[in-house]
Subunit: 254 residues, 2 copies
């Protein structure tokens, strides 16, 4: 068998198994190996690294296209990767791909992203993992550039491997991009976060609708790389220890 025939690629996402983005990522994955899809049965955006522990998970299998089995899960993106590798797959995947997300996952959005969490979960479990997002929220977004960026990131990982504990987070503008650039996570936050209204029986409710405020003007951070028309690629880690601060504080009494 060729390397391509031997490889198994697990594809997940957070927009749900029926999104356009996951089909676009499956097309990319098929160039590199056999593909199986395990993804949420519905939209799961902004779930962060949520996992389901108080309820049972159910699955449904179907043929997404010729040669590609898909299994939907009534859970989160991280659940999908956990359940796939622990129970659903007969062999271990050589790569976990998550996306293509409709909407970028750059700056602080990395923290809230279900797309990134599926890839991070793959990394935690020991598999090379990549998250891919496109800067366009539209359901019919032009994902051609994001597909190209995904393919380049996958080739990079198969050529070079990934250090332990590292996930690649890839973002692309809608449509074509200039080239790929390595980027840092840009500092940013949401402001004016909620719209406060009253419902038809006059009870108040709050609905999230924040504006992203970019605090980081450096041109090598993901948000600014994207704005300049490049695709960004960022190595991220799940060890959250702030090592410099840890070393500085270690001598202090508490």
């Amino acid at each position: 068998m060729s390397a391509k025939q031997e490889r198994l690629i697990l594809v997940a996402n957070d927009d749900g198994i029926f999104s356009k983005g996951i089909r676009a990522l499956v097309e990319v994955a098929e160039r590199f190996g056999r593909v199986i899809v395990v993804a949420p049965d519905r939209q799961q955006s902004a779930v962060g690294h949520s996992i389901t522990i108080s309820e049972p998970l159910r699955t449904q299998k179907f043929e997404m296209k010729e040669g590609v089995t898909a299994i939907s899960v009534n859970g989160t993106p991280a659940d999908c990767v956990k359940l796939a590798t622990d129970q659903l797959l007969k062999e271990k995947p050589d790569l976990v791909l998550s996306g293509i997300n409709h909407g970028s996952n750059a700056g602080i959005n990395i923290i809230y992203s279900g797309t990134v969490s599926a890839a991070t979960e793959g990394t935690i479990l020991g598999y090379p993992s990549i998250a891919v997002s496109c800067m366009d929220f539209a359901e019919d977004a032009d994902l051609s550039g994001a597909q190209e960026a995904a393919a380049r990131a996958v080739q990079f990982v198969f050529d070079n491997g990934l250090p332990k504990g590292i996930t690649l987070n890839v973002n692309a503008p809608a449509g074509p991009f200039k080239r790929m650039r390595w980027a840092r996570q840009g500092d940013s936050r949401y402001t004016d976060e909620y719209v406060a209204r009253v419902d038809p029986v006059n009870r108040p409710y709050y609905w999230m609708f924040g504006r992203l405020e970019v605090l980081d003007e450096a041109d090598d951070v993901d948000i600014n790389v994207l704005k300049s028309g490049y695709a960004s690629i960022t190595p991220i880690q799940y060890d959250l220890t702030a090592y410099k601060v840890f070393e500085a504080m270690s001598g202090m009494d508490v």
Copy 2:
């Protein structure tokens, strides 16, 4: 007014506003300032950094104890901190406290923790923030040690401040502890994650029930510090960029 009277402390958690742990943390917070509680209306463990964007949030206000207003939210821990600071509080808090969680949030559990996410959200929004957890899952856990650890961490923050972007993650054993120790996030992961069963009408389901495998034997990581009878305190950050890898890869073609 004294510093204590001037300070406002926001208390949140992920076990829900009626848990024993949040009342224990309110007792600690009252020693340092005025206290307001904004927390989920139900158990929200393992939600990670989930936020609610597709549904409206509702609130209910009640008096938790004399002088302490509590507002429950039908959302996640991170929602509570966002909504509190954007809409519910009349003034900005001087500190965000999250916990006391019933169950430790050390090692990989930091990634899945709603308790930690509430504190991280506080940090993102620019407030000094601390998460506090106790190594005992029991509803009637002895939280006296965790209260002591929380008080020490709060005093540390009011004495020294916290660098931008840094959250303190505090864990304590049940009952008394030897002393507090600075610790790193320990590398760990869950194995044998799911129990597969069939329901009364013979359909399969999967239920998460993993064993935590500790991959890190160093005595300065949070999990091992706790096992040795100390309380752990770990500075964590929401910038997930793997800087060393970023620098190493920046010269590589992709």
